[in-house]
Structures are given as C-alpha cells and as structure tokens.
C-alpha cells in the first residue's frame, strides 16, 4: 500500500498532496482538493458524471488514479465560468435550453461539451451527440441537452 507525493494544477491553481496509490482522481478532487462539483455516480466508468478535463482531454476521473495525474493540468466544472461569473458557452447553452433538472450528471456533460468546443472549435452536431452518449441523465430525457449541443455546434440560433 504505497503513498505517493503528487503535484498538479487544478483549475489553474497549483495543488500538492500525498495520496494512497489506490485513490481515484475523482475522490482526490472531491475529498482532498475540495472540488465537489466532480460528481461520482457509478464509479466504474459508465455514467459519465465524474468527467473532467485532464491535459485538454475529457476523461472519466473515476477511471484514473490520482497518482497518475501527477504533473497534469486538470479542469473541473468549477473552472469553467470566468472569474467575474460569466458562464462558459456550454453552461449558458445548458441554462438557456433547460438542459438539466436535478443536475447530478450536469458537471460531466459540461466537461465533455467544454473539451469538444475548446479553442473555439465548432464540432458537428453529430460528433457532439456521439460524445454525449457517454453520459447518462435520468431526468431530462436528453432533449434539452441535445438542444444545448445544437447551440454549441452553431446549428441552432
């Protein structure tokens, strides 16, 4: 049962800590770093709620060990909005289109949307919807999320 020192950037801030080898990145972000916007649903990679961005890529934080994030730049849902509170375009689209009800799956959905639209990339609606198939939402029936995706794809005014 080894312990490991890690140092990483979370939402632009340096964070150092010591973790047990078996600690998942999702648990580390929530319990050690305090980013409880990372929602942990199934803990085996099926539901998508824990999705975060690691070095520019949307990944399941329950399927990665915290020790593996040593040296990485991690973005959680807390890092999406601007410092003045201006919502990220994905957040604004989800808000405008009522893409959430209970909100449990929302942080993961937003991180996938944010990763796919990073640097003003305009993904096709089809590729956004394919990527969003990696998220389970039990409230909305997906139609609001789908409309938000259409906004982000620039296929809906």
């Amino acid at each position: 049962m080894s312990n490991h020192g890690i140092e990483l950037t979370i939402n632009g801030r340096r964070f150092a800590g010591s973790v047990e080898a078996r600690m998942s990145l999702s648990d580390f972000l929530r319990t050690e770093a305090g980013y409880t916007g990372v929602h942990v649903g199934c803990e085996h990679g099926v539901c998508g709620a824990c999705t975060v961005i690691v070095d520019g890529k949307a990944v399941r934080s329950c399927l990665m060990l915290a020790v593996q994030a040593n040296g990485a730049a991690v973005t959680t849902v807390e890092g999406l909005a601007a410092a003045d509170g201006t919502l990220h375009p994905a957040q604004q689209a989800m808000r405008d289109e009522h893409g959430l009800q209970c909100g449990f799956c929302t942080p993961g959905v937003l991180m996938t949307m944010a990763a796919m639209t990073a640097g003003d990339t305009k993904p096709s609606e089809a590729s956004l919807l394919a990527a969003l198939s990696g998220h389970i939402c039990r409230c909305t029936g997906y139609q609001g999320i789908r409309r938000a995706a259409q906004h982000l794809a620039g296929e809906r005014a």
Binding site: M1, D27, L63, M64, Q68, A131
Partner: protein, 289 residues
C-alpha cells in the same frame, strides 16, 4: 466501490516494467489506459498486490511502419489511432473499429494494446487483430516472443500471456492500399459491447478474391476467425459468389453463448444477416430481395 489497497510503480522502461512483473511473481497487474482495469479494481473483482503502470514508457507509444508491417505501440491511445494517417492508409478497418470502442471519454485514455491484451470476447480490437493476421510481440525478463493473434486468445479475458510478460507491440501485416473492408456490429446502445460483430478485409485482384481475413466478436469465448468462409471466398468472382452460403459457413465457425442480453440462436441469426449484408456491401452487390 473503492479498490483494495495495492502498491504502485510507474517504470520508464520496458526492462524495468518486466523486472517488476518478474519480481511480483504473479501478484502484479499491468495498468495501461485503465478503462477496463479501473472498474475491475473499483468493484474489487481484481485485487493485485502491485500495479505496474506503463503510461510513462515512451517506447510503448505510437504507430510506425517497419518492413512492410504496421507496428502499433500498445500504449497508443484509442483517440490517437482514430487520427493516425498511417492507420487510415494501411489499416482503415482498424480505424473504423476504433470508433466503436467505448465512448469519446474512454477513448481519450483507453489504449489499443490494453484492449488487445485484455481479451474481452465482445471487443473490437482483438477481433480486428485476429481478422487481419496481426501478431503480438511479448517481452519478459526471459526474452521476446511473437504470437499470432489467432493463437493469443484462450478464453474470456484469458490469453497466452504469462504473469511476467508484457505486450510490447501489435504488428499488422500489410494489406494492399485500397483493399476492401468489412465492419458491422449490433449493440444495444452506442458504446456498449457488441452483441454480435464482424470485422475483416478482402483483396480482389484481376476479378478474383485473392485474400480474405474475417473475424467475429461477441460470437464465442474468444474472437472467432471465420476460417471456412475465408477459404470459401478465395478464388471466387465477386459477382458470382453465393453470399448466403458463405454467410452460413461463417456462422458455422462460431460458438456464441446465451446470456441475459441475447440468446446464442439470436446471435447466430443476426450474425448471418450482418455477414451477408456486409459482404454484399463490400463487393458492391445489391441487397437480396
């Protein structure tokens, strides 16, 4: 839903990784992309004493061409495979298959070698390796060996890999540029494991089929090479061959299970259907009435 405690090492070289595996005497598990291993750890279905993380080994990453083969480093991530110009040119059906592996988010971390080494019988990558005649390069502190993909799989999640061995490359023989590809799978939802899937390649030269590589996934305890169908296709004229008869031969090589998703009989019926449809499509023939 938390893993049992384990030790963790992340060596930077293949030699060090093999030394760790040998030292652990069977108590170690290799961590590549982790997209299957992490759930098994979280569910405590897997409880290794030590994880040997191979993510820091540069020699295991990337796609290259060598001696008329395409060599895929096992740590090549699935998303990297999707955008590799080498794979697009030389192994287009592998790229087609990669689109069906897991989800966008798991492909960002999951690796081609991890999927190959794991041996999930319903997974796309092992069947693709079997269909195209790939060989698996395996290293340990005892030496290096190569095993044809068709002999690599022994059962569900069981391979010829010994506890001290590491997959260090997957080598695909060349198929001529512009060869014909077949890929089709039936799954309950996008990203789910296939109930039934078919992957393969054909070469038509001077009006005759001169080479055929076809394999099933989800149709038995391992990927299943459709040997009888491959043999029956050779020498045939694409416009004249009996598609239904060859589909029946292809299904005859399979050994599907009944499970809570589908019966074996259903899998055979769907298999026959997707085989004949894919073959017609690949050969540019019209759908049967």
């Amino acid at each position: 839903m938390k893993p049992a405690p384990f030790d963790y090492v992340a060596p930077a070289s293949i030699e060090d990784a093999c030394a760790h595996l040998a030292e652990a005497g069977g108590g170690a598990t290799v961590l590549a992309g982790g997209q299957t291993l992490m759930p098994l750890l979280n569910l405590r279905m897997s409880q290794p004493f030590i994880l040997v993380d191979i993510n820091n080994i540069a020699a295991l990453k990337g796609v290259s061409r060598a001696g008329g083969n395409t060599r895929i480093g096992p740590m090549t991530r699935q998303f990297e495979g999707l955008t590799s110009p080498v794979l697009a040119a030389h192994l287009p059906v592998l790229v087609q298959a990669l689109r069906h592996v897991g989800h966008y988010q798991t492909r960002n971390r999951g690796t081609i070698g991890g999927s190959i080494a794991l041996g999930e019988p319903a997974a796309e990558m092992p069947a693709t390796a079997v269909a195209l005649g790939a060989s698996i390069e395996i290293r340990s502190s005892r030496g290096t060996r190569r095993v044809p993909a068709a002999e690599f799989y022994l059962g569900p999640y069981m391979t010829v890999l010994e506890p001290d061995e590491l997959v260090t490359a997957i080598e695909f023989p060349d198929w001529p540029l512009g060869h014909i590809t077949l890929f089709r799978e039936v799954a309950q939802r996008p990203g789910d494991f296939a109930l039934v899937g078919l992957v393969g390649a054909l070469v038509v030269d001077a009006g005759k089929i001169t080479r055929a590589g076809l394999a099933w996934f989800g149709m038995g305890p391992t990927p299943v090479k459709a040997r009888q169908a491959e043999a029956a296709l050779l020498g045939q004229t694409p416009d004249a061959l009996d598609v239904e008869a060859i589909a029946a031969l292809a299904v005859a090589d399979t050994a599907p299970f009944d499970d809570h998703h589908a019966s074996a009989e259903y899998r055979r019926t769907v298999g026959r259907r997707i085989f004949s449809r894919s073959l017609r499509e690949a050969l540019g023939r019209k759908e049967a009435a």
